[in-house]
């Protein structure tokens, strides 16, 4: 049994050390906000935080996160009050919504490191998170709005 901490809660999971975190989160723990997109770290839908750093959970083995704090979209806030979540709702950003948890988790890392991102900063930071619906302009506006509202 492997002990891991997800969203500040302790879990014991019965999985092979090589099991990818996407499946640990979704199948073992039941946190299904993190999505399977491409499975090869190319699209970003599965982005989570490990010790505050963005990680593509579809390529991150369970063995690499032991003793570290994992945060998923469910743990960003308990009540949808994170500035990014509020900006996302206010801006009606999502279309189909499938990639949006990855978008928000990536944006959260951006705002943690850069309180006032420029358009170029946002483009660069979000270049690896793909949205098939093409909601990029709304994503960018929401990130800027969250930055103004104290995103972190």
């Amino acid at each position: 049994m492997a002990k891991i901490s997800v969203n500040r809660k302790q879990y014991e999971v019965d999985a092979d050390p090589g099991t990818l975190m996407l499946w640990v989160l979704r199948d073992e723990i039941g946190l299904t906000g993190t999505k399977f997109g491409c499975g090869i770290a190319q699209c970003g839908s599965c982005t989570i935080h490990v010790d505050g750093e963005a990680k593509r959970s579809c390529v991150t083995p369970l063995s690499s996160v032991l003793g570290k704090e994992i945060t998923t979209i469910e743990g960003l806030s308990n009540d949808l009050t994170h500035p990014l979540q509020k900006a996302w709702i206010d801006g009606d950003v999502a279309q189909c919504g499938y990639c949006q948890s990855g978008q928000i988790m990536a944006a959260a890392t951006l705002l943690k490191n850069n309180k006032k991102p420029t358009d170029a900063d946002i483009d660069q930071a979000m270049a690896g998170i793909i949205c098939r619906c093409g909601t990029y302009n709304r994503i960018k506006d929401a990130i800027k709005q969250a930055a103004i509202n104290g995103g972190k």
């Binding site: 770290a41 951006l110 270049a127 690896g128």
Partner: protein, 211 residues
């Protein structure tokens, strides 16, 4: 000259000879120390052969210029990828410490092990590239320039000598990954053992550089 005067003369002569010997020895010692600290690598090895050194470097430089090594040693701000050395997708930048920026860290995707499967990101311990201050570029320069850079701490990652640079090349797991990249990726055009043999030959013969 009486016996007492003769003894005095012998004593004075012996003292002078001893002092001279001590002075001469200290000069030699000092010269040797100075020589050891300032000597150029092109003359350090007894029996060094600059032509042989240059030949060894010219043969091994193709490893540095191969995609597996050059992709993470670009001249610009972002890594390249694949055998064609195209700019890394996702607009990845090296960042100040060579570990990426913000959401786009190297280890956001690259693990410390290779993942087995088509299209999966390669991995090795401490996956990163040179930082902004000391880019250690292999791309876009000549063999001679690369050779001189390897000896320059300002351009070789702060390593004090060519020997230290070769030590990094011989032992760093991230460098060694290039010879076991997995998933059908091409390897450098020379075995790691042969490469290090040639690099040592380069150093042992004076670390001479082609033009």
């Amino acid at each position: 000259m009486n016996r007492s005067s003769a003894l005095k003369l012998i004593f004075i002569a012996a003292a002078f000879a001893g002092a001279s010997l001590a002075f001469y020895s200290s000069r030699i010692g000092r010269l040797e120390r100075v020589e050891a600290s300032t000597i150029n690598e092109t003359t350090i090895a007894a029996g060094s052969d600059p032509a042989k050194s240059r030949a060894a470097f010219s043969e091994s430089v193709k490893v540095f210029f191969s995609a597996r090594c050059s992709n993470c040693h670009p001249g610009g701000d972002g890594p390249t990828q694949g055998d064609t050395m195209t700019p890394h997708s996702m607009e990845i930048k090296r960042g100040p410490d060579g570990r990426g920026i913000g959401e786009q860290k190297c280890t956001t995707c690259h693990q410390d092990i290779n993942l087995d499967g088509d299209g999966l990101p390669p991995g090795a311990p401490n996956w990163h590239m040179p930082g902004e201050a000391n880019k250690m570029a292999f791309q876009g320069i000549s063999a001679g320039q690369l050779c001189r850079n390897l000896k320059d701490p300002l351009k070789n990652g702060g390593r004090k000598s060519a020997k230290d640079a070769v030590h990094h090349i011989a032992t760093d797991p991230l460098v060694l990954w290039a010879w076991t990249p997995g998933n059908g990726r091409t390897t450098p055009p020379m075995s790691h053992a042969d490469f290090i043999k040639k690099m040592n030959e380069w150093v042992d013969n004076g670390a001479a550089c082609p033009e």
